[in-house]
Structures are given as structure tokens and as C-alpha cells.
Amino acid sequence: MNSIWEVIDKTETGPYMEERDFDLKVVAKRCRELVKEYEIKFDPNEIITTDDTLADDLFEAGMRLALEAGIFCRSTKRIIKFEESEVHEAIVSAPNKLHIGTRKDARILYAREIEDKRAAIICGGQAGAPIPEEWYLPMSLSYMKEPLIDMINNGGLAVVEGRKVRTNTPLEIQATRRELSMLREAAARAGRPGIHLLAAESSVSALGDLAIASDRYMRTSDAHLVALLNELKTDYDRISKIVNFTEYGALNVTLVDPIIGGYAGGPEGVAVCFIASFLLGRAMYRSDYHVIHPIHFRYMSTSAVECMWNLNIVGQSMARNAPFILMGDVWTSAGAGTEMIFYETAANTITNVVTGSHPLGVSATNGKYPHASGLETRFMAEVALETVCSGLNRKNANEIVVKLAKEYKDRMDKPDIGKPFPELYDVSKVIPKPEWNAIYLKMKKKIADMTGLDL
């Protein structure tokens, strides 16, 4: 087995390369060549694909990229290369079932299959967003209070005790500890003290992360995110996070977020890069589960058609060939308080649930504004549940998703960003205000009528 010790050795001894050469001569070049060789094609009318051969071809292309490229370590400018046997071992040893959280709030997080009939695990929160300290507790509570939500991934703190948090400063430690303290408090108030937390979002460098490996903040039943840098890169900050959590015993989660329009190319090249990233991410970080987050170079949102196609084909490709536990992000352009967010959430969620991942969101406005609440995530959970209960297959799911995408795709350039949390919720009671609740009920009915789903 390849351990983190051997990975550190590889960062010191792997082949040296300039980063620009890695970007252009390795990633950009090979992604394009492999897309051509395997004839991988994106079709905007087939956001959810039914071609298993395409999924398998993509996997083979991704495996080749993983073995040829390796991971570029920015701290040493050396390539961390893995042998084929090491990557295979990483696949075989990847958990396909995990116990997360504790006691009555524990859940089994599992690797979803294509058209899986089991209920998906719902991860709620506005991941990636900077959330004001004064709302952090009630906003977190708004997710914890939703019974359909199984685990939490909320945003980070940009301000702590009135001071703006800066990367790589002592305040990062305070912010990460405060984030965890408030999440714990919210969980206790909601009567779900053991709910699984995917947290430490306030820790951008390793500083905050190192400071919360304690039962008081993050338990060993919880998890933190460690990104793979774009594209196919890492550095010593990321590896430090892994080293710390590996010894502590909490869960490591890889965030993979290649950019459509970036070095990997278009939707097809990004799909190849995704597969390579998951395989190398597992081999390098020994991650327990993985977050799939395609980024659109203009809209950011995972609800963009090209991004949903990626969630679909990468999810299916992994489910068939390397069944990792995947959480598929649901990041919308629109904010809470709008009608548009429901169309985006429904399309993105159906795509994830049918093609091998659990939904994680809703990160409204792509986490740019704290315009989010528990209510739209309740909707995400209801859509996920009905997708499974109705036995939606890929073909029917595609028809629905294409129809839903038509409702918002031309508005992604100028989305309605909605309203901040305190304008949507009664903050003292932590319940949705009547106006926001009325929009939710209206849109739930509208989307049920439109899709035939019994929401």
C-alpha cells in the first residue's frame, strides 16, 4: 500500500518540471488527444447519458491520463507519479461504505450505483460561502432542523469577533474553531448532536485545520475537505492537512473541481481530467469519500448544462469502474428567495442522484452571497427522495433535466441573487418567513406538474 509517507518521498524525488509545461504539454495536450482518441462527445440534449460504452471509454482515458501525468507538487515542482499497481490498489481499497456521524445521528454513506434504488444521503449547507458570524448559528440550525438532511457542509467565517479573517494569519485558527463550535452548538440545539460534519471551511491554509483536530471541535466521525488544485496539482499545505487528519483518524475528503474552459479544455476534456483526479486523489490522499464539482469558466454553477453532463458521465464512469463514494455538488447561480433556484436545484439534484452521487448543497449564488437557507435544501432532499421513489431511469431523467434546464440556462449570466438569510427566515424561531415559504410551495407544485414527480 502506498502511504502518505511514500507520497511525501515522491514530492521530493519525482521528476522536475516547470508548471507551465505541466499545464500545457501534459494536461492540455493529453486531455485533447485522449478526447479525440476515445471519441468522447458532449451533447447538450443528452445531459444524462445512457451509453455505458461512453462511460467505460471515459474511464480508460482517465486512467491513462492519471498514469501518464501524475500530480504536480507546486511546493517542489516535482511530479508525484504512481504505478498502475498503486492506482489499482487505491481503487480496490477505497471504501464503498462508511459510518459517518455518531449514535442516533449516524448514517451509512455508500457508493451509489447508476439508477440506484436506495435513498441518497443528503448533505445540507451553503458550502463555500463566507457567512457572517452573527447569522452562522441560526443559518446552520436552519439546515440541522430539516429531518431529511443527513449531514452538514456549511460555509466558512470571513469575519470573527468583528475582525476580517485573512488567509495564513492567526485569525484563521480562530475562525475555524469558531465555525466548528457554532456547528456543534447548532447540532445540539437541533437535537442532533452526532450529525456528521464535513467542515473546517474557514481553513484555507493548513493553519485552521491543524487547530481543530480535537473532540471539542471536529470528531473522528467528521470530515474535512482537501482540494486537488487545478488541474492535477497539490502542495504542502494540502498534504499537511492530510497528514494531520490521517494521524488524528477523522475522514479525508477530496474536492475535485476542474474548470470547463481551462487547461483540460471543454466538457469532454474536463471529464477525462475528473477521472484522473479521482484516481490520483485517492492514491495520494487516501481519501474516504470525494466531492465532484465541475466549474463552468463563466457561470461557476454546477447546474450549467456542461457541468451537469460532467456530473452525469463522471458519476456513471466511476460507479461502473471504480465505485468511490461521491458527493455531487449542487451550486446554483440564483439565490434563495427566488423561483429560479428551484429549477436549478431540481435539475442538478436529479442528475446527481440518477448517475451515482449523493447531492450536496444548495450552495446558492455559487457561495458568493450568503443568500441561502435550509428551505431550498429541503427541496433538494425532496427531489432526491422522489427521484428514487419514482424509479426514474436515465432516459426519463434526461427528458426532465433538459426541460428544467431550459427554464434557467439563458438567465445564468444575470441570475436573480435573491435575499440574505435574515430576510428569508425568522431568525429567532429559525423558521422560513411566510413569503419565502409561499415561493417554495408554489415552485414545488409547478415543478411537480412540469416533471410528473410527486413532490
Binding site: 463566507p130 479573517v165 495564513n168 487545478n230 499545505d237 461557476m300
Partner: protein, 220 residues
């Protein structure tokens, strides 16, 4: 070779991202007596306009834009001195010092903006990522920049953008530079709040705003 054919050739070498061939075509254009201004504006710029347009429509991607910008610069290095010799002004729209601000290692968004600025005729000094505030200012003074452009994907690096403006004021040189900010968590409202001159929601808007601000604040 006819003038039209030469212009098409220059445009195509830019579109296809071929620096050596673009430089050769530039030499050929001068030798044939083609007006260097015409070669730049109706050859190179025409090619770059197509590249920018194709990138916006996701027909091509960042590496193609990078190669196109390299091709344009290779040809420009030959054509611009000739144009200046003929008594014209620099074809460069302005000088931009750009970087991902301190504390942030994310640079693809910044790279896209830098490439689009280059593609639109700006002289771009890309300082990379995790750039300390004082280093951005030092470089801007050194090259006589018109625009300082700072990017970040992290809300916890946004305060360093405020520091940038504060330090420019402290040094008494705030008015010397147009300051633009952008990136994932950065909003239009926040840019205004900290006293930045411009904001771009994406690469296209960043270029548009840079051009407008240069016209407005620093008429040439």
C-alpha cells in the same frame, strides 16, 4: 502575395496559435510594404478578436488563448517598432500589472483575465499567485502601469485587496493607478465599498471595464 492575403495569414497564425509563423508573416508583411498599422489592426487584432469571441462561446479554451496571445506578441514585436517609426502611437492599450492577491493559490481565473487582456492589446505583467500587496505596487511603479488588477477566489484573501488600496493611499500614489478587482467571492458592491475603480464578473467584463476606465480616467 496580396495585402489581403497577408492580412488573412497574420490573422490565421494568431487564431491557430503559431508564434514562429506569425513572426515570419509579420516580416513578410513589412518586406512587401504593407502598412504596419494595417497589419496590426486588420491582421493580428482581427485574429485576436475571433479568438476572444470563440473563447466566450467555449469553442476554444484557455491553452488556445494562451498560444494565440503568444503568436500575437511574436508578430507585434516586429510590427510595432515599424509602426512607431512611422510616427504612430503605441498600439498597446495600456499596461496592466495583474496577480492573484496574497494568501491565495488559485490562478486559473486570473490567467484567463490576463490572457484576454493580452488578446485585447494590453501589455500585461502577470506576477502569478500569492502576490504580496507591496510587490504589486512596486512592480506597478517600476513598469509605469496604468492598471493594477487583483484577483482572488478566497473570501479570506479579499482583505488584502483593501490593503492594496490603503497602501496606495498611504504612499500618496492612489491616483496614479486604476485598481480593478475580481474573482469568485468578490462582488460589484464590495469592489465599490473598498474604493476600487473597476470590477469584472468574468474575463470579458474585466476587459471591457479596463478599456472603459482607461478612456475615462486616463485618456490617451
Amino acid at each position: 502575395m496580396s495585402g489581403t492575403k497577408l492580412l488573412d495569414e497574420l490573422a490565421n497564425f494568431v487564431i491557430n496559435g503559431e508564434p514562429e509563423k506569425a513572426a515570419e508573416a509579420a516580416k513578410k508583411a513589412l518586406k512587401s510594404g504593407l502598412d504596419p498599422f494595417k497589419a496590426i489592426n486588420e491582421g493580428l487584432m482581427k485574429g485576436m478578436a475571433k479568438v476572444g469571441d470563440d473563447f466566450s462561446k467555449l469553442k476554444i479554451y484557455l491553452p488556445e488563448v494562451m498560444m494565440a496571445a503568444e503568436a500575437m506578441n511574436a508578430a507585434l514585436a516586429i510590427l510595432e517598432p515599424a509602426a512607431l517609426k512611422k510616427g504612430g502611437k503605441s498600439v498597446k492599450k495600456g499596461k496592466v500589472v495583474i496577480g492573484t492577491i496574497y494568501g491565495d493559490i488559485h490562478d486559473i481565473g486570473k490567467n484567463i483575465v490576463a490572457m484576454l487582456l493580452k488578446a485585447n492589446g494590453f501589455e500585461v505583467y502577470d506576477l502569478g499567485r500569492e502576490v504580496p500587496v507591496d510587490a504589486m505596487i512596486k512592480k506597478s511603479e517600476e513598469v509605469g502601469a496604468d492598471v493594477i488588477a487583483a484577483s482572488t477566489l478566497l473570501s479570506t484573501s479579499m482583505p488584502y485587496m483593501e490593503d492594496l488600496i490603503a497602501l496606495l493611499k498611504e504612499k500618496g500614489i492612489r491616483k496614479k493607478f486604476i485598481v480593478m478587482v475580481g474573482g469568485g467571492p468578490v462582488t460589484r458592491e464590495w469592489a465599490k465599498e473598498i474604493g476600487a475603480d473597476g470590477y469584472g464578473d468574468d474575463g470579458d467584463e474585466a476587459v471591457k471595464v479596463a478599456k472603459e476606465l482607461l478612456q475615462k480616467v486616463k485618456p490617451r
